[in-house]
């Protein structure tokens, strides 16, 4: 990158490592940025919609994942290009805020950039384009709100929620079982939801995966499932009316934290020490028993001697329970976490209807289920599936569905999917464009075209002719003044998305359009790229 020459034509060194830096300015910079971002969007566009395809991603360590989730795909692609990275972050922030629609947001951003490119070629100032996009975005958002419908989430056994969850699951590998999984997700969310505050703490829903069985075996446990078993094989496999003692101290003689050593000078002393150690175990078990506990869960381990003693005293116990599990169990059973044996009191015990060990398949793996907890505010979804890849993808899909349901509980307004909402907005934006007298008119019109790109892409992915189907849907929307006409992806014979029951949350759609516009504006504002030469 040379910036200046003196009178003799010798270049100045103005910047450090000037020779190794590259600079792109003006149109060249816009184009390179837009093309890079578009490349990312193109990769994702085939994943959109109910017939969208999956991507197989191999990590540097050779781990394979197969997924349809936009945020996961772009995250695992390990994109280097700085502008393309913006799209990755875009997808992730949609994931963090809404949890669903991560593919759609990137595809929309890609379509907008594509339109911006043609506008730039026409010689329109990039900021005029971004101003136009901004105004169009406002119009689209307003229109979305007018066409949105409030749904009654309580009605008909939460039918609306289940439908919305089904829409979210429709594009995933588990779509065959979407109704069952949707129901599970809805029940899970409703179990932990605070309907008065319209808030759902997703930390309370634990999603546990286990390979084996099939996706149909996925079920909801109204309690907690931990991937642990009883410390001794002869302990009872089921404890009814459990009073749980949660310990964060090991079943071992306590150790001082300060460095210490014990000098033993005689055989008697040694014996005494041994006896004392034994006494510790006896005392510990006694203390636990005395409190009335009939099962002990311990964050740490305990040695075989203690294990044996616990068995003798008929006190089932579980060791090495992870910290987060301990916390979850504490919340669910109303237990207090006990850091020291001396502090065990009956009030600190948690209560649960049943603690039992369950076994899966023919493998010797067992898990512990804690059911009917006293303050049942935590649930677990146990996902089964043929292979690790399937359960991982199912986990991501259910997460999406859960997020959709949460958003509906927060804000019960919906729009209809299948590209109908985008089409309706596009029509509205197009109308608005004609009222604008300045250069922005072109940008606004292009925004409408970009919005139409979503149903186009949907149709394309379903093997329909994108142009004809979008044109038909659009003309019917206008003729019948019905914003619910979309693309009939599933070939059910109707294009009215209300009949097809394709529900999407208003908040997700709104967020998609806003975030995509925001990132596109940012990319359009860059007119100068200074980077190392190999960029």
């Amino acid at each position: 990158m040379s910036l200046a020459f003196d009178d003799y034509g010798r270049p100045y060194i103005i910047l450090r490592d000037q020779g190794q830096k590259k600079r792109m300015k003006g149109l060249e910079a816009y184009k390179s940025n837009i093309l890079a971002a578009k490349a990312v969007a193109n990769t994702l566009s085939s994943s959109l919609g109910p017939k969208g395809m999956d991507k197989m991603l191999v990590s540097p360590d050779g781990d394979v994942s197969v997924t349809n989730d936009g945020a996961t795909i772009v995250e695992k692609m390990e994109i280097q290009h700085p502008t393309a990275k913006l799209l990755v972050e875009l997808s992730q922030s949609q994931d963090a805020e809404i949890g669903d629609g991560t593919t759609g947001v990137v595809v929309l951003a890609g379509k907008l950039l594509e339109q911006a490119l043609t506008l730039l070629d026409k010689g329109i100032h990039p900021l005029k384009i971004s101003d136009g996009f901004d105004r169009a975005c406002d119009v689209a958002i307003k229109h979305l709100e007018t066409i949105s419908e409030e749904i009654d989430i309580q009605a008909n056994e939460h039918e609306a929620l289940i439908q919305a969850a089904c829409t979210a699951l429709g594009s995933k590998v588990v779509s065959k079982r979407k109704r069952e999984l949707g129901k599970i997700a809805v029940t899970a969310v409703l179990d932990v939801a605070d309907l008065a505050r319209r808030d759902v703490n997703l930390d309370l829903i634990k999603i546990q995966t286990k390979t084996g069985g099939s996706v149909e075996d996925t079920r909801l446990i109204s309690g907690i499932l931990i991937d642990k078993d009883m410390s001794h094989p002869q302990m009872p496999k089921e404890v009814n009316d459990a009073r749980i003692c949660l310990l964060t101290c090991p079943f071992e003689p306590p150790k001082p934290k300060t460095k210490h050593n014990i000098n033993i000078s005689s055989a008697e002393d040694y014996k005494k020490l041994y006896q004392q150690e034994q006494q510790y175990f006896v005392d510990m078990v006694k203390l636990v028993k005395a409190s009335g506990a009939n099962i002990a869960l311990c964050q740490w381990g305990f040695d075989d001697e203690a294990n044996h003693l616990l068995l003798q005293n008929e006190l089932p116990a579980v060791r090495w329970v992870s910290g987060t599990d301990v916390e979850l169990i504490a919340m669910a059973t109303g237990a207090r976490i006990i850091p020291r044996f001396q502090e065990i009191t009956p009030e600190k015990l948690g209560k649960a209807g049943c603690v039992k060990e369950v076994q899966f398949g023919t493998s010797n793996e067992r898990m512990l289920v804690i059911e009917n907890c006293q303050c049942t505010k935590a649930v677990t979804i146990l996902i089964r599936g043929g292979s690790q890849m399937i359960v991982d993808e199912a986990k991501r899909s259910i997460h999406d569905a859960i997020c959709v349901i949460r958003n509906l509980i927060k804000d019960n307004r919906i729009v209809y999917g299948g590209g109908s909402a985008e089409l309706a907005c596009a029509i509205q934006v197009l109308q608005y464009a004609d009222e604008v007298s300045s250069v922005e008119q072109y940008a606004i019109r292009s925004f409408a075209d970009a919005l139409e790109g979503i149903p186009c892409c949907l149709a394309d992915n379903c093997g329909l002719n994108p142009i004809t189907s979008v044109a038909q849907a659009k003309s019917r929307q206008l003729k019948e003044n019905n914003p619910r006409i979309g693309i009939d992806c599933m070939e059910l014979g109707t294009t009215d998305m209300k009949e097809q029951r394709i529900y999407e949350t208003l908040s997700s759609k709104k967020q998609q359009i806003q975030l995509a516009t925001q990132v596109v504006k940012m990319i359009l504002k860059i007119d100068d790229v200074i980077a190392p030469d190999d960029y």
């Binding site: 910036l3 200046a4 020459f5 003196d6 009178d7 100045y12 060194i13 103005i14 910047l15 450090r16 910079a29 700085p82 990275k85 972050e89 875009l90 992730q92 922030s93 963090a96 100032h125 990039p126 900021l127 901004d134 930390d203 964060t248 003689p253 306590p254 150790k255 001082p256 934290k257 300060t258 460095k259 210490h260 050593n261 014990i262 033993i264 000078s265 020490l273 004392q276 964050q299 910290g323 916390e327 504490a330 919340m331 207090r336 976490i337 850091p339 020291r340 925001q518 990132v519 504006k521 940012m522 504002k525 860059i526 007119d527 100068d528 790229v529 200074i530 980077a531 190392p532 960029y535």
Partner: protein
């Protein structure tokens, strides 16, 4: 001279690069131009952003000082520009691009004089004289707002913040953010206006208008141990205990060793350690604290102990956050719990933990001593929020300055043109070379409106003509005409369209630009030492992360 076979006198080390004389000044000026060209397109409401990649980090910015800093300028004369941009940033916080441009333009105007053989010192004198007059006029033209009522003053501050945000990514939401910024600054102690007491926290996700102002302190949930979730997450008027103390079961002294002679003593040692930590916890609970914050870790034992007693705790709170909590709640940070006095506890109207995007935040609201505020920024991408933060920083600095200085001028190039008009007029009344030089100074000032117009894609020559004509009419009427990027005519009264800037920004920009120009003009020789050997050896290491493939061969 060599034909006289005079011995060559080696004054400097071999390889030293010296250049001197007029050519040196001209080449310095060229270098400065080149650097100014980089930031030129960022000026004004239609200014563009730069994307700069340094190593793995990518920065997208519109802020002149940030860009110049990231460019890593090494040319000695061009570095002067980087320095003035930085000083403008430190002193005023905004107007860094215009300062750089003005300095470069002054030098450009000086170049023909130097080439024609006018002594640089005469140019410098002329510039200094012109600056003096310009500053005088600037004061004269500026509008005093100190007598205005509180509401209209707040209004003025908002207008100034909006002007600062005009060229940034946030331009479309400037209304929203300018109010946010002004409310944040109003929270501060009006006598000190300590910038550090306005915290800005970034949370990716959500829309930019989801950003909000916390009237108090907000910080991200710290690392927590099991049991934390069982603590209450909401208090009204809590007693807040601030500590710089570790609350963990651990060895008290690093290298201490205990020798136990009798097995019976074993238990007593264990008990003693537990007693130590329990004693500390008990004191805190007895003193009536409801929220315990510590700079150092709070262990799992303490977390559960507090959870049992309905106390909220957070360990590893960042130093700056703790300080701001201290300021906001009126508490005092304690380094020991011995003799803990409830009077050192702070309080606030409402404490709660809330979910912001994917993060949990601790909010301390309605603080009694509230001399601090926190802005929580939301937005799509990491870089977006970072740039938003820089923009808000500019706006905060401007509002702070305005709060103190009470004087404003109209932006959009209006004030520059008005000063320029005056200087041109004045130039005619002086004799000698100074006449030309003052005239050049006046011409250089026009770079600001011209660049704004150019960046907006307007016809800058036409606009400049219109503006000169308006200003030449004189009097109050044409005084505040500046570039209008929205209207059809391209010019408007920027005072009426509320493009306002504190006088201080302009004053500082004029001063430092002139000083920088004079400094560069007065250099007539550069002696550049060759790089020391150590330096060349270091060089391969200068590019971390690259495989050393190209170096073998």
């Amino acid at each position: 001279m060599s034909q006289f076979l005079q011995p060559t006198i080696l004054l400097l080390r071999e390889g030293t690069d010296t250049s001197q004389g007029r050519a040196q000044i001209v080449s310095n000026i060229n270098a400065v131009q080149a650097v100014a060209d980089v930031v030129k397109s960022t000026l004004g409401p239609r200014g563009m952003d730069k994307m700069i990649q340094t190593g793995p980090k990518v920065t997208i910015s519109n802020d002149g000082a940030t860009i110049l800093n990231l460019l890593e300028v090494v040319h000695p004369a061009a570095r002067v520009l980087v320095d003035i941009a930085k000083s403008q940033d430190d002193e005023v916080g905004d107007g860094t691009t215009s300062t750089t441009l003005l300095a470069a333009e002054l030098l450009k105007e000086a170049k023909p004089f130097i080439e024609e053989g006018i002594h640089p010192q005469i140019v410098i004198q002329g510039y200094r004289k012109a600056l003096e007059l310009a500053l005088e006029k600037l004061e004269g033209f500026s509008i005093n707002i100190s007598k205005d009522s509180i509401e209209s003053k707040r209004d003025t501050l908002i207008k100034c913040a909006q002007t600062a945000l005009n060229s940034k990514l946030l331009a479309n939401t400037k209304q929203f953010f300018s109010e946010l910024v002004v409310s944040a600054v109003e929270k501060l102690d009006p006598n000190i206006l300590d910038r550090d007491l306005i915290g800005i926290k970034n949370v990716t996700g959500g829309n930019i208008t989801d950003s909000f102002l916390v009237d108090g302190v907000a910080f991200k949930k710290t690392f927590s141990y099991a049991g934390f979730e069982q603590q209450p997450k909401r208090f009204e008027n809590p007693k807040i205990c601030l500590l710089n103390l570790e609350l963990e079961l651990k060895s008290e002294k690093e290298n201490a060793e205990i020798r136990i002679e009798k097995p019976e003593e074993y238990q007593s040692i264990v008990d003693a350690e537990w007693a130590l930590i329990y004693e500390k916890l008990e004191i805190i609970v007895k003193a009536g604290a409801q929220i315990v914050l510590s700079k150092l870790p709070i262990g799992d034992l303490a977390t559960q102990y507090f959870a049992d007693r309905n106390i909220f705790c957070a360990g590893r709170v960042a130093q700056e956050d703790l300080l701001r909590v201290q300021k906001a709640t009126g508490g005092q940070v304690q380094t020991t719990v011995n003799g803990l006095n409830p009077e050192t506890f702070g309080t606030c109207g409402l404490f709660e933990e809330v979910q912001v995007g994917a993060e949990r935040y601790n909010l301390f609201k309605n603080c009694p001593q509230s001399r601090t505020a926190t802005i929580v920024l939301r937005g799509g991408a990491e870089q977006f929020i970072q740039e938003a933060e820089r923009s808000l920083n500019d706006a905060i600095m401007i509002v702070r300055r305005c709060f103190k200085a009470n004087k404003i001028v109209a932006g959009g190039g209006a004030i520059e043109l008005e000063i320029s008009r005056f200087l041109r007029h004045y130039a005619r009344s002086v004799t000698g070379k100074t006449q030309y030089i003052v005239n050049s100074f006046a011409k250089a000032l026009e770079v600001i409106p011209r660049t704004i117009a150019e960046n907006a894609g307007l016809n800058s020559i036409e606009i400049m003509n219109k503006l000169r004509q308006k200003h030449a009419q004189g009097g109050e009427e044409g005084r505040w005409y500046g570039v209008d990027i929205n209207g059809a005519s391209g010019v408007c009264d920027t005072h009426q369209s509320f493009v306002w800037e504190p006088t201080l920004v302009k004053r500082n920009a004029l001063c430092s630009a002139t000083e920088a120009a004079c400094a560069i003009l007065s250099i007539d020789e550069t002696v550049k030492n060759p790089k020391s050997d150590q330096d060349t050896k270091m060089k391969p290491k200068g590019q971390p992360g690259r495989p050393p493939m190209g170096m073998r061969r």
